[in-house]
Subunit: 274 residues, 2 copies
C-alpha cells in the first residue's frame, strides 16, 4: 500500500459516504468509523481516507471533533440560494444580495458552427463573444459564455458589459427579446472553469443553454451558463392540470423571489411555525 494520496480513490470514498449520509443509512449524529478502520475496510492509505473526510467536512456533511471522532451532520447544512433561474439576476437584486461580475474576455470572432445554427445567423455573420464570472456576496457562482450577432454586439462596449446585465444592454439599445428556448443539464468542471469558480476540477455543475429570439425570429443571444449547484438551484412551482387520464404538470405563474434561502412551498400550504 502506498502512502501518497490517491485522489481518484479519495473521491470514490467521499461519494460513497456522501450517498450513505443523504440516503439516511448514516443518520445525522452518527459517528463514522475511524481513519484506520475506513482505510482497512476500503484498502486505502490513511492519507487517502483523510482526503475523503476533508471533502465531506468542506461540504458540511460531517464534523470533526478533535479527540472524539467524525460525526454526520446530515445533508441539510448549507443550502444553495433558491430562485427562479430565468430571472436569476433580477431575483438576487430584489433579495438585496450583493452581486458582482468579472469580465474574462470580450472579442469579435467567426461564429462557431453550432452557434451560427442556433442563432439562425446568415452565412459569414460574425459574433461578439464574452466570458464572465458572476459573484454573489463576493463568491463566484456562475460562468457565462455569450455569443451575440455582431450587429447587436456593436451597440455596447466592453466597459458596459462589465457593469450591466447583457439583456438590459440589448434592450436599452433597441433590441427586443421576445422569446427563448432553454435547456438544462449537468456537466463536470474543466480546469479553466474550475479555477474561475474556485472549485476542484471534476466538480458537478448545472449546465444551461438559452437562445433568445427577437419578434421577427432572429437570434439575438446565445448564452451558455455553468452554475455551482452548492450556491444555486433552479426552483419552480408546478400545478397539476387536465382531465383524468390526461393529467400533466404545468408551470405555475412565477412569483417574485423571496429573501429566503430555504426551498419554497406553495404559500397556502405552509405549516404555521410551531
Amino acid at each position: 500500500m502506498t502512502s501518497a494520496i490517491e485522489p481518484h480513490k479519495a473521491r470514490r470514498l467521499y461519494l460513497l459516504l456522501r450517498d450513505q449520509i443523504s440516503s439516511g443509512r448514516l443518520p445525522s449524529g452518527a459517528r463514522l468509523p475511524g481513519e484506520p478502520a475506513l482505510a482497512a475496510e476500503h484498502g486505502l492509505a490513511r492519507v487517502t481516507v483523510r482526503r475523503a473526510l476533508d471533502l465531506l467536512a468542506s461540504e458540511g456533511l460531517v464534523r470533526r471533533r478533535p479527540g472524539s471522532g467524525t460525526f454526520v451532520q446530515g445533508p441539510d447544512g448549507a443550502r444553495p440560494v433558491i430562485g427562479d433561474l430565468p430571472n436569476l439576476l433580477a431575483g438576487l437584486i430584489a433579495m438585496g444580495r450583493a452581486t458582482g461580475v468579472r469580465l474574462l474576455s470580450f472579442e469579435y470572432v467567426a461564429a462557431p458552427a453550432a452557434i451560427a445554427e442556433a442563432l439562425l445567423l446568415d452565412p459569414g455573420e460574425r459574433v461578439q463573444r464574452s466570458v464572465r464570472v458572476r459573484l454573489i456576496d463576493g463568491r463566484p457562482f456562475s460562468y457565462l459564455t455569450t455569443h451575440v450577432p455582431e450587429r447587436v454586439g456593436l451597440s455596447y462596449s466592453e466597459a458596459d458589459l462589465a457593469a450591466t446585465p447583457l439583456l438590459s444592454l440589448m434592450e436599452r439599445s433597441g433590441v427586443t427579446a421576445d422569446r427563448a428556448t432553454q435547456a438544462i443539464g449537468a456537466t463536470l468542471a474543466g480546469p479553466e472553469v474550475a479555477q474561475a469558480l474556485d472549485l476542484e476540477v471534476g466538480s458537478a455543475l448545472i449546465d444551461l443553454t438559452r437562445v433568445v429570439f427577437d419578434p421577427t425570429g432572429r437570434g439575438v443571444e446565445h448564452l451558455h451558463a455553468l452554475y455551482r449547484p452548492d450556491r444555486y438551484a433552479f426552483q419552480m412551482d408546478l400545478v397539476r392540470t387536465g382531465d383524468a387520464g390526461e393529467r400533466r404538470w404545468t408551470p405555475a405563474v412565477p412569483r417574485p423571489v423571496k429573501p429566503d434561502s430555504t426551498p419554497r412551498r406553495p404559500a397556502a400550504h405552509r405549516r404555521p411555525a410551531p
Copy 2:
C-alpha cells in the same frame, strides 16, 4: 514518470480537451497532437493520455483513424432526448419510445428527518420508500428514489410499482396531486448510482427533487431523481413579459413533446428547410 494509468490525471486532460472542443478552440475536423506529444506537454504517461482520448472518443467528441491520428468531431455528435421534465414519462410514451423500469427496492421505513419536513408529516408517520431505475430503449437513464406517506403507499403493491408510474397509481387510488415544488441541480454519481446507470463513478448527473401536495396541502410524494445528462436534458420555452425596465422571463405554455430529438425552437421561428 510511472507507466500505470493515473485516472485522476486522465480525467483532467479529458476535461481540458473537452472544453477546448466545445469552445471551438479545437474546431471540428482538427487533428489532435499525437499521444507522445500530449504526454510530453502535460507530463503524463502515454497510457494516461490514451485513457483521456478513450473518454473523448466514447462521447463522440473525437474519432480515431488508425494510421492517421485523432480528429475532432465537434460537440454535436449524440444529442440527448429533449423533453419537458415534469411530464417526462408521458412525453416519452407519446414519442413512441420504449421505456422500462427496474425496481431496486421497496420497503416501509421511519421517515428521515428531511423527508418528514418536506412532506409535512405528522410526528412518527412512516413512509414507503422505493428505488427504481428507468430505461429508454433498454438503456438506463434515471435513478428515482421516492418516499410516500404510508397511508398513501399502502394502496398499491410492489408489483404495481414495477409496472405503473407512481403518480398514476396514486391518482388511481384516489389521491389528488394538486401542486408541486421542484428544484433542479447537479451532482456527481456515487458508486451505487454509477453502477445502476452504467456510468463511471464521478460522472455529472442532473439532480431533481420534487415534492407533491394534495389540495389540502398534505405532502403525498417526495421524489429525488438523478438523470444522465447525455441521455436527457430538461427543456422549456420562455416568453419575455412585462413593461420596460420590469421585463422578465415567464414559462411559455408547454406544448406536447414532438417525436424529435433536436432542441426545439419556437414554431414561428423555424427557418424553412433549405
